[in-house]
């Protein structure tokens, strides 16, 4: 493909932007209800601009975090899809399988492992996002995650007992996901 290397860099770039920068850039330059780019876009189509972080706070944070972590998922799935034997696809094509069926019966099963791993790893990492909430809503508008709650209890109100109890919950929650990931990692170490 023409310019494959460049496109790959474009797609991967968000991962290397520090969390505070991406959160602030999105918050102010895109999601600002008056001067944000999304507000301009909304007005262009004749719609009323949304004040993203107060009205659709959770959606906004999900958008920001997805943008940051999209490259990671892309890279893993790319690695996986490149290991797909193209002869299989060609054979299916010759047998007259349409595009959708080829995707569903060949590509998707081949990717299932990679997809599982992306889901597991990202869940573990994203359970502890902090900076994105810290600089955008500060935990207001219903965006207080467990991580943020603990931060507030420990550092802001010095309620150490509650903070520590929250910490235990956070660890248990992460462990539930981590068990599955560790199993896959352990199996691969044997091979």
């Amino acid at each position: 493909m023409w310019g494959q290397g460049v496109v790959r860099i474009l797609v991967i770039a968000p991962f290397f932007v520090m969390p505070t920068v991406s959160a602030l850039v999105w918050k102010n330059m895109f999601m600002d209800p008056v001067n944000g780019l999304l507000a301009h876009l909304w007005r262009f189509f004749g719609a009323e601009p949304i004040s993203w972080l107060s009205e659709a706070s959770m959606t906004s944070i999900i958008m920001i975090v997805s943008w940051q972590w999209l490259p990671f998922a892309t890279l893993i799935l790319l690695t996986a899809i490149q290991s797909l034997d193209s002869e299989q696809l060609e054979a299916a094509e010759m047998d007259g399988a349409p595009v959708l069926k080829r995707f569903y019966h060949i590509i998707l099963p081949h990717l299932s492992r990679a997809i599982t791993i992306v889901i597991l790893i990202q869940t573990i990492f994203l359970l502890s996002i902090f900076a994105e909430i810290f600089v955008t809503t500060g935990g207001a508008f219903g965006t207080r995650t467990l991580t943020y709650l603990i931060f507030q209890r420990v550092l802001e109100s010095q309620n150490v007992g509650l903070g520590s109890a929250g910490g235990v919950y956070a660890i248990i929650l992460a462990n539930i996901v981590a068990i599955f990931l560790m199993r896959i990692v352990g199996k691969n170490l044997d091979a």
Partner: protein, 276 residues
């Protein structure tokens, strides 16, 4: 083989890939462009894309008002220091596990990796308390140690996978030719290990640079790195789009360039070998 993939379909795919790539990259591009606008142009309606008066004044103002260089220096020290310290500790560990494996090697490795899967916030209070008692709050040294510890599992893991790729036969051959242990390490192992160590250093420098949980919680003024510097733009300065953009561009530019070189290590370092 003459497949039915026509030139038309190929160029369509290429165009689509470019469109998606540019869309994903757009927020970064927009930030960089906005950093060269004046404040008035930055909030102009409709938005200006390229037809504005390019200016560098925002960069000068950011440096002047908030002493950007000091934060940059803190970032360099904290990210660099924690990476170097981590590698010094991890090389012997990974080396031993890769070349002298024992029955428990796998368990030890998995145990180390499992610490990376715990949420950082779970140890926020213990670390915070330790920092207060030891007087490490808002010091670069304290942050170097914490970031080293949180990245250590990744460093050990990456080095281990790289070292494992060094074929044992080469060591045997060197021994047969009468190389001493010192020569073996110096002339055979080191040259083969350097690329792996370099990739590990690169990725972990990036991870430490972008780390924003501990740097935000354990620093205030003296040791604050760029992540905290940007967070201070949260309000009300964040409403000055051009200055925010200039500060952001300066904070991410070095890492975007380094990140370009490290895209291959990213998968290896952060998937713990779950993807092959």
């Amino acid at each position: 083989m003459a497949r039915a993939v026509t030139t038309r379909r190929k160029s369509l795919n290429t165009a689509l890939a470019w469109a998606v790539g540019l869309l994903i990259f757009f927020p970064i591009l927009w930030t960089i462009l906005t950093s060269f606008k004046t404040e008035a142009q930055a909030i102009a309606s409709p938005p200006l894309f390229l037809n504005f008066d390019w200016t560098l004044e925002n960069y000068a103002i950011v440096q002047e008002r908030s002493d950007y260089m000091r934060f940059l220096w803190n970032s360099v020290i904290i990210a660099g220091g924690s990476t170097i310290l981590g590698v010094i500790i991890a090389v012997p560990a990974a080396w031993a596990m890769a070349f002298v494996p024992s029955k428990r090697t796998k368990d030890i490795l998995l145990w180390m990796l499992s610490t990376k899967m715990l949420p950082a916030v779970g140890v926020l209070y213990p670390i915070y308390l330790l920092f207060i008692r030891l007087g490490l709050l808002d010091t670069r040294g304290g942050l170097v140690v914490v970031l080293m510890l949180i990245n250590l599992p990744i460093i050990v893991w990456m080095l281990y996978t790289y070292f494992r790729e060094i074929p044992g036969e080469i060591l045997e051959a060197a021994r047969m030719d009468g190389a001493t242990l010192k020569e073996e390490i110096l002339y055979v192992l080191t040259p083969m290990a350097i690329p792996g160590i370099a990739s590990t250093v690169l990725l972990n420098f990036i991870l430490a640079w972008n780390e924003a949980f501990w740097t935000l919680n354990l620093t205030a003024v003296d040791a604050a790195p760029l992540t905290a510097f940007i967070a201070s733009y949260s309000s009300p300065e964040g409403l000055f789009f051009a200055k925010l953009s200039a500060a952001s561009t300066m904070a991410i530019a070095p890492i975007l360039i380094l990140g370009w070189f490290s895209q291959k290590q990213l998968v290896r370092g952060l998937t713990f070998g779950a993807v092959k």
